[in-house]
Structures are given as C-alpha cells and as structure tokens.
C-alpha cells in the first residue's frame, strides 16, 4: 500500500476491523410537499475490511449522496461517520482509498499516461516507480494500446477503464465504485466484475453503488438497499436471498398423476418451462415428495432451499415503504 502507516487487515482477522462506519448519517437538502425530507436520512452502516459491500437502490435514492458524504465532498446535516477510524472528510484515510465516480469526468486535454501520472503524483509518487505503476494499470484495464489518446476523444467505455485505473493508482485498501459498469459492453462489464473479485481475494474492501441488482448479486457480501434516502433493507446477501423454510423441488418428465400428487403435497406449485416447481415448508416433506417423483419416473431437476433474487428482495422492501 502506498504511503500507509496503518496495519493491514487481510481477510477476516480475529478482531474485526471496520473500514467504514456511520451513525445516523443524514444530509437533508429540503422537505417535499408532503413534509418528507429530501436527501439522506439516518443512515447507519458498518463495512468490514475485506468485504464487498453494496449500496443499492434506484436512481435518486441517495447512493451518490452517501458516497459524497463518505468522501468528504459534501458535509452531513446530522450524524457522523468514520473511515479506517478517521472522521469523514479528513485527509488521513484518503491515502488508502480510491474513487471511481459516475461519469466519470477528467481533464480533457490529458492522455491516459498523463492523467494517471497526475493522479499518482497527488500521492507523492514519482519517477520510475510512478511510471511503472502507470504502465501496470494501463495494461490491467486494457488501455495500454490507447495510452496516447486524449481524454476528450475517449468513448464511454474508455473513460470507465481509465477511471478504474486512476482509482487504483495508489493500490488502495478501500475502493469506492459508483455505477461501475455503466457504459460498458457485456464483456467490459464482465472484466470489471472479475476485477472486483480479484480485489476481494487480495483482501481489499470494495464499496459498490449500483442500481443493477442482478449484477450485484454475485459480487456483494453485504448490501444496504436505499429508497428515497432511507435504508429499507440490509444484511448479508446470502441471508437476504435465502428464504426461510422454503424448499423447492423442480421435476421434468412428469405425468399428470404426479403433477396432481405434487399439487396436493406442496404449499404451491408453479409450472415453468418444461418443468413443474413445487414448494414445501418442510425439508422432509420435500424429500419424500422427491422420492415419490423419482419412483414415478420423473427427473429431479432441482431440490434445495429456495433463493430469492435481489430484485425480489428490493421490490418487497420498497413495497413495504409505500
């Protein structure tokens, strides 16, 4: 890590250290016609080191506001927060973080090398070390061939790539990424996801903001879902997606008899493409139903705990707010 005096936290330690912690963090801009506050209200979160944390929600829910508060770009109207133990906005933790904003926007007249060198120099990096780091990052984000093109001639995807590079110029322990894959084609998006997982493997902490719930599902360890500036759901992704006491049996190649039998046994059934899905409250009930189906000659396609998708979690959480 560049210029850091802090003890490294790799993976899970005996004592859990927090990368980010907020207490009732609020940024209220105004109140709307019905008297509801506009902005961010009472956000309390904890992000452990080594996690990939997702701040999810629709556009306008306060994600970017939260990000800006954490980075000290704007100031809270109430509450407080810490990053690596330092209060929000202080320069002390900025040595260890990287930030990729939505957009992103850079000095138009610089090319890839100049831009990264500039950002690197802000950390006090220089000379051969900086040049080597710049080259390394340009290769990493796939911009090496286009390193002499000026930012003003960049495509959206190129901006995103160079943005990721500058966010990592100081080999940060904590990365803030706002709408990481916006503007990227599926291959580019996939590369970014791969990168995040690599970073997690290296023990880094990643703080993601996104409205693309489907993409976030495989990446995040924990999430907070925001809606209209308020937190409406939080937890480990695994826990959120798991549905208590719901077991799912999906069969194919079934006879009408079997389907009638399953309808009787299960809490509910749903036909899906070529399959019949049956849901049981009880693991044993599901198992016995599976044995019956197998005995009747059907093919067991799936048998296990039923998982929701993050989207379903979100809709449910938001719906609860209305």
């Amino acid at each position: 890590m560049v210029g850091a005096d802090w003890p490294a936290a790799t993976g899970r330690c005996f004592a859990i250290s927090l990368a980010i912690k907020t207490e009732n963090l609020s940024k209220i801009y105004s109140h709307d016609a019905t008297g509801r506050p506009v902005g961010l209200v009472d956000l309390s979160l904890e992000v452990e080191e080594g996690q990939v944390f997702g701040l999810l929600g629709p556009n306008g829910s306060g994600k970017t506001t939260t990000l800006k508060l954490l980075l000290g770009l704007i100031f809270p109207t109430a509450g407080k927060g810490e990053i690596f133990g330092h209060p929000l906005g202080s320069n002390a933790y900025k040595e260890r973080i990287g930030f990729l904003p939505e957009g992103p926007y850079f000095y138009e007249h610089l090319n890839g090398i100049e831009l990264l060198s500039f950002y690197g120099s802000l950390f006090g990096m220089g000379g051969g070390r900086l040049a080597a780091r710049v080259e390394e990052l340009l290769h990493l984000v796939g911009m090496w061939d286009r390193r002499f093109i000026r930012v003003r001639d960049y495509s959206r995807g190129m901006r995103q790539r160079i943005g990721a590079a500058q966010a990592m110029i100081n080999d940060p322990d904590l990365l803030f990424l706002d709408e990481l894959t916006s503007g990227l084609d599926p291959i580019g998006a996939m590369e970014m996801h791969k990168l995040i997982l690599e970073l997690r493997d290296q023990g880094k902490t990643v703080f993601l903001c996104s409205h693309l719930l489907k993409d976030m599902e495989p990446l995040c360890d924990r999430v907070i879902i925001l809606n209209r500036g308020q937190m409406c759901e939080t937890g480990a992704v695994r826990d959120l997606l798991r549905v208590e006491n719901q077991y799912r049996l999906a069969v194919s190649n079934f006879s009408d008899d079997l389907s009638r039998r399953l309808v009787a046994l299960a809490q509910r059934t749903e036909p899906e493409e070529g399959l019949l899905a049956a849901y049981f409250a009880d693991q044993n009930a599901a198992l016995s139903a599976a044995q019956e189906a197998s005995a009747a000659g059907a093919v067991i396609e799936e048998l296990g705990t039923h998982h929701r998708t993050l989207e379903e979690v979100f809709i449910e959480a938001v719906g609860g707010e209305e």
Partner: protein, 270 residues
C-alpha cells in the same frame, strides 16, 4: 505541500490552451506594437503615448486575462466534476485553491511576460529616435529603461492581486457576479484615494462618514500604488526599497484575499 504544485502545473497546462485567452494575448501584442503607429498621430506627445498605450495595454489586457481566467478556474472544476476525483485524493481544499491560483498566476505571468517583452522592444526601438528629438530630456531617458522594467514588474503583482480576487470571488458568487465584482473592486481600488479625500475632515466630512469611509479605504486594495508612470515620465529614479515595499503590500493583500478564499472554500460542497 507538493499537491499544490501538481495542481498548479495541471492548471497551467490547461489554461494555456484556452483559445479565448490566447486571443486576448495576441490582440494585446498587436495593440502594443501598433502604439508605434498611434504615436505618429500625435507629434509632440509620442513618447507619452508609446508609454501610456504600452503599459496601459499590459495592465488592461493582463487584467482581462486575470478576471476571465480566475473566475473560471474553480467553477469549471466543479461544474465539469473533475474536482471529485481530485478531492478524493489526499489533497486538502486549501491545497486545491492555492494550487489553482498558482497555476493561474503562472499563466498570467507568462502572458504578461510576452506582452512586457513586446512593449520593451517597441520602446527600445522608439526611444533613441525620440531622445534625439529632445536632447534636454537626456536624464529622463537614461532612467527610463530601468523605470519601465520596474513598472512592468509591478504590473505583474498588480495582476496577481486581481487574479486572487477573481478566484476568491468565484467561490462566493455566480460567474457573472464574480466577474462584475472583480472589475468593480479593481476600478474602485484604483481610485481609493477618492475615499481618502472624502473621509478628510477638512472637507467637512462628519465623524460617521470619516469612520465609514476610512474603513472602506482600509479594506479596499490600493491598486494605484503599482503605478509609477510619473517616475517614468519625469525620469525620477525609483529605488528598489520602494519597489519592494510596493510589492510587499501587494503580496500582503494577496495573502489576505487567498486566506478569505480558503475560509470560504473549506466549507464548500462539491
């Protein structure tokens, strides 16, 4: 401390490319060069006109560049959102403001240098001719070379002060308002002796007026101190102690202005 210079250098490179400012520079140099021609219209006042138009152009166009560059340095970063990635790095807002100012000052200085050189060339060519016409002014001419160089040096600091005010104004007001504000402060500061005259009890100023006008006089930057035109035309030798004192006052005031800028910008949300 280093981030200041990194930001400054980036600012300088960016500002140098602005076509509008380069246009002003070219125009200014043309005017300075053409003061040669203007002078022919006015037999008997040639030297005066060369100096007035030359130095006047440097100060006027330098001021324009300072105002239009200075009022955009910070707002552009905020509006174009390039500031976000910078302030997310270990760069304090103070370092950012000072760095932007320093880069702007470098740009302005480069412009002034070019204009100053152009003017000095015009003057150096014209002076011997004019001296031949008026030999009794030999003493005046002898002192003029150093006086003009000193005047150009002083104009640097005058324009730096304008730039500082422009940058700080841009953190307080909208762009249009900050431009107007800077122009007003500049022109009113040029005639600060007016407030001194108004506040003079011998002119019948009331106690309240004395205090109010005296305070205004105290707060205003006194831009007229940078003007040594009289010395140039009269051939008075201006000692370096005086020049340094004037520069010192200018720099002191600039420090005050930048300090105000720091206090304001530190709480500025981006």
């Amino acid at each position: 401390m280093r981030p200041i210079f990194r930001v400054a250098r980036a600012t300088f490179h960016e500002a140098w490319r602005r076509r509008f400012l380069n246009g002003i520079l070219v125009f200014a140099i043309l005017i300075i060069g053409s003061s040669w021609v203007f002078a022919y219209l006015q037999p008997g006042a040639e030297l005066q006109m060369v100096i007035d138009i030359g130095l006047g152009s440097i100060r006027f166009f330098g001021m324009l560049i300072a105002v239009f560059l200075g009022t955009r340095l910070i707002p552009d970063e905020i509006e174009r959102r390039t500031i976000h990635t910078i302030l997310a790095k270990p760069v304090s807002r103070a370092q950012f403001v000072f760095g932007k100012f320093l880069g702007g000052a470098g740009t302005v200085a480069a412009n002034l240098l070019l204009m100053g050189i152009a003017f000095y060339i015009v003057f150096a060519i014209k002076a011997p001719q004019l001296q031949a016409q008026k030999p009794e002014d030999a003493l005046i001419f002898a002192a003029m070379y150093s006086n003009i160089a000193k005047a150009i040096l002083l104009s640097f600091f005058e324009i730096f002060l304008v730039l500082g005010i422009a940058v700080v104004a841009s953190t307080l007001f909208s762009w249009v308002l900050s431009v107007i504000f800077t122009f007003v402060i500049y022109f009113v500061g040029q005639m600060s002796d007016f407030f001194q005259q108004l506040a003079d009890p011998e002119r019948g100023a009331s106690k309240a007026a004395q205090i109010l006008l005296g305070t205004i006089y105290r707060i205003l930057p006194h831009f007229e101190i940078f003007d040594i035109r009289e010395a140039i035309l009269q051939g008075t030798y201006t000692p370096w102690t005086t020049i340094l004192r004037i520069i010192g006052q200018g720099v002191a005031y600039l420090v005050v202005v930048l300090l105000i800028g720091y206090l304001v910008f530190n709480e500025r949300e981006v």
